[in-house]
Amino acid sequence: MGIAVIGGGIAGITAALDLADAGYKVYLIEKNAELGGKVAELAECETGISPLVVKIENHPNIELMLSSEVEGLSGSAGDFKLNVSGKEIGVESVVLTPGYDVYDEIAKGYGYGSPDVVTSLDFEGMLRTATVSDTRELVRPSDGKPVKKIGFIKCVGSRCKENEICSTACCYYTAKEAWEVKERYPDTDVYIFYMDIRTFGKDEELVADLKGKYGVKYIRSRVPEVIPEEDGTLTVKYEDLEKGTVERLDLDMVVLAVGLLPSKTIEKLAEITGVKTDAYGYIETNLTSPMETSVRGILAGGAATAPMKVRESVTQANGAALKAAMFSERTEMIPGQEERKYIDVGEEPKIGVFISGREGEIAGSMDLSAVTEHVNQLRGVAVVNSETNTLKETMEAVESGIVDQGLNRIVIAGYTPRAYEDLFRDACAKAGLNPYLLEMVNLREQCAWVHGAEEATAAAMSQMTMAVERARYLEPIPIESYPVTPKALVVGGGVAGMIAALDIADVGYDVYLAEKESELGGKLREITELRSGEKASGVLKDLVDKVASNEKIKVYTGAAVEDVRGRAGAFRAKVTGSDVDEEIDFGAAVLATGAIEAVPEGYFGYGQDKNVATQSEFAKMLEEGTVVDANTIVMVQDGTPGDGVNSKYKSIEVVSNALRAKKLKPDLNIFVLYQDIKTYGKWEVLYKEARENGVTFLRYDEERPPELKEGIVSVYDVIFNDEIQMKPDLVVLSTRMLPAEENEKLSKMFMIPLKNGFFLEAQERPKLVFTPVDTVNEGVFICGSAVYPAMIDESIAMGSAAASRACVLLAKNFLETPGIVSVVDEDICAGCGVCVELCPVEAIELVDVPVAAVTYSVMTVTSGTKKVARVGEGCMGCGSCASYCPSDAMSLKNFKDKQLYAQLDFA
C-alpha cells in the first residue's frame, strides 16, 4: 500500500521526500495545479524550492496527484481507503499538511484598498517582480515611482478580537522583508510598527542588525491608522506609547504583516477524516505528541497544527513522516541504490554544453546566441544546446547527450551549482557518466542578474571559457560503494534524545543511547509540571520505561562518546565511562545534548539574597506551595546578564508561573518587568489570561534597567513615564541558557559548527531553513535544545525529525564514497606530516610503507620503509592539505592544481 500526504506545500514536500527516499510508496495530493504552496510565493524561495519539486516529479516512489482533492476516507490505521477526486487509493497512514491561509478581513483603518497598501505575501510577490524587472527598482504599485519610505505594520489580524492568538511567523518574516529591502535598496527608509518583537535565537540577531547597522526604525505602537492622502502619500497615524502623543508619519508604501489562519480546507478534511480541531480551527495535537492527531494513523504537520515558521513546519513534517512510516512497510526501491556502471570516457574530451536560458532569467539579460556562438568555437566542445527552458528539459537533454551523442564532459550554464549540482550529477550518473565530469557555470545569479546586458554577454563568454577549459581537465573519480551500518548513535538522553532513539528503534534499527548523567531524562527531571498542566514526572517515567523496555535500544549512562571516525553510513566511536569502554559502529548519529540554565550569580543579589530565585526554582516553590507566604512578587524577565542565549519559552514560563501563583493565592501582587513578551502562537492566550487575572506587566526603558536596593525594586515604566517602586517578598529571575559543555568536543569530533555554543544546522538558503535537523556533515543530525532552547513540543518534533532523517539514511543498503576528497601520491610524499597537523578532521595519518627498490646501474638497494601520509575515511574535502603540501604529493580530487590552473589561465 503506501502513505498519503495531503497538501503539497513545503511541509507536504518534506514529508513526501523523507518517506519516498526511505523506500515507502507515497501519494502526494495537492488541490492546486502546482506544488509549493505558500513558500513558492515568497520572494527568494522559488529558486530554493524548485530542486525539491523536480526531485518529487522524478521520484519513482511518489505518485503525484495535482489538482486533486480528498473526498472521502474509510477504514482505520493500517488500512485506510481514500477517495481522491473520484479515484480510490489504499494507504496505511495519512499525513495532513494542508497549511494555512492568510488573514483577509483587514480592518478599514489600515488603508487597505489603496494600491500602495499591500499584504506581506503580496509584497513578497513585488520583491520577486522587482527581481526580474528591468529597472530592478522597488516601485509603488499606484504610480510606478520608487519607494523611498516604507512602513511595515505587524499583528494585522492576529492578537486581536477576531484572531486572539499570535501568528508567530510575522515578526520574523517582517524582519526578513525589511532586511531584503535594506539589502537591495539601502537608501529606502524602513519603519516597523509593532507590539512586541517575537523573534528567537538567530532571528534576534537579525532584528538587532536591522536596528543597528541597517538603521531600520522599530516603533512600538498598537494599531496605527493609515490614511491615504490625495497626493498619493500614505499618512500613518500612531500613538507614541512612550510620549503618550499621537504622531504622524508620511510614507510611500505600507506593508501589512497579516496573520496566519488555519487553512479553510482543514474543516473539510477534519470532517472527512474525523480528526479533531482545536478552538482556533487548527488540527488538534498535544504538547507531548505534537504530530499526532486524534485519529490513530493520521498524522499532521506544519502550519495546519499551529501558526509557525518554515523551520518549524519542516521539522514537524520530517517528524510526521516518520510517525506515518510506523504504520506502513517499505515496499519500494530507493533511488540511487541500483548498481551504476560508468562509461569509459577515454582521453579525448567531448564536451556537451547546455545553456538553460529560461525566459526572464538569462535570455532577456544577455545575447544568448552570441554566447552560444562563442562556446561553439571553444576547443573540445562537441555540442552546444541552448534550446531547453525548464530544469526537467535540460536534465533530459543532458541524459540523451550522454547516451546518444557520447558526450564525456558536461557543462551546465544557467543555474547556481549550490542548489543544482546534485541534481545534475545524478542526471549524469543515471546516463552512465561519472558524476564528477560535470562543471556548472552560474550565468544566472552571478552574471545575468548582476550585470547590464552588454557587460553580461562579455562576462558570460569569459565564464563559459573558464568552465569549458576546466571541464577538459576533469577526471572521472572512482566511486566505491560501502555498506551502511543499520544502527544509530544518539548522544544525550533528554526528551529529544529519548524520542529520537525510540523513533529510530521503532522503525527497526538498533540504537545506542549515550547519556552523560547517571540517569536518563535531562531537563525534564527538574521540571514539575508541563505548560499543559501534565505532570512532568509522568511523561518522564513513560519515556524512560519505553526506552528501558525497548530491546533495540542499548543505553549507556554516565558515558561519553570519544574518538569518532568514519563517515555517513559507517561511523565508529568509543563509548567510555565508569563501567563502559566499548567500540561501537553506527551509520547515523543524532546529537541531543540539550541546554543548561545559567546561574544569574549576583544579578539582583541572586546567590546572596534568599528572596531572589530563578523561574525554575519558583516553579518548585509553587509545587510545594511555599509562595503562599508572599504578598508581592516581582518577576524580571529580561536583561539577565551573562553568557548564553534566551530560551524560546522564557515568556511562556513567566506567564504560566504567574498564573499558577495567582491560582494558589488570588490576592498576590505580581509585577512582571519586561522588554518584550514573547508568548508566541497559542500561548498568547496565557498572556491575556495573566493580564485578566491581575498580573501587572511593566515595560521598562532599555537604557534604565530595574534595580534592587535594600529590598526595594525601582523601575522606570515607559507607559507612566515615571519611576515605580515596589517592595517584593520575592524576586524571580528568568535565566539565560547555556549550551551543554560537551558540545565543544562533539563539534570537533563530528565536524558540526557551533553558534553561541549551540549546533548549527545545514543552511542552503540564507534566510530560510529547509533542513532544520540536518548538519553540514552527512549522517549527523541535531535536535532539541542542543540546537536552540525550545519548548517540549518543539524538542519532541525535532527528535522525531532527526530520527526521520537518520532513518532515510539507514534505509539504504550502501552509500557511495564521496568524490571530493584528498589523495596522496605516495611516491612523492616525503612523510613530513604537515597535512597530519593541519587536517581539521584528523583524517590523515602517517603510515610506514616499504620503499620500492632503487636500482643504481648494477646495484639494487632496498631501504626498508618510509613514512607517507594516508587519507582516511573522515576526509571532508576542504583542501587544506592539498594547498599546504610542500612536495605537491597531496591533491584534492575535482580541485586539482591543473583543474584550477585551467580556469585561471582563461580568467
Binding site: P766, P840, A882
Partner: protein, 142 residues
Amino acid sequence: MGEEKGDFEPKIVGFTCNWCTYAGADLAGTSRKKYPPNVRLIRMMCTARFDPMFALKALLNGADGVFISGCHPGECHYIKGNFYARRRIAAMRTILKQLGLDNRVKSYWISASEGDKFATTMKNITEEIKAVGPNPVRDEIL
C-alpha cells in the same frame, strides 16, 4: 606603458569558498545587486584550498587584482579552513611586497547572507585596482 591609471578595465580574479562567499555572490544575484563585470570567480569548497601560487599565477597571467574571500571567523564549514587561508595570505604578503604587488591582493570575509556586502566589495575592489593601475607584469608579457 599602455593604459593609464584609473582609465582601464581591470581584470580581477576572486577565489571564493562554496559555502559563504560564493553563496553571498548568489544572493547578490537574487537581490539583483549590480556590480562591475571585472570579476571572475573561482569556486573552491573552502578557502583552505587557496594556494599562494594561484595568486601569483593569476598576477603573472596578467590579472590586475586578486582576492580571496571565505566565511567569517568561526563560521567555517570546515571549522578552521578560513584561518589557514588567512595565515597563508599573510605569509604571501611579504613576498608580494618585495615584488611590489602587495596592493593587488585583497582578502575578505563575506557570508552567505551578505549579498549587499559582496556587491559593494566587488565595486570597491574594482575601484581600488583601477586606482592602482594596470598590472605592470601584463606589459612585460604582451
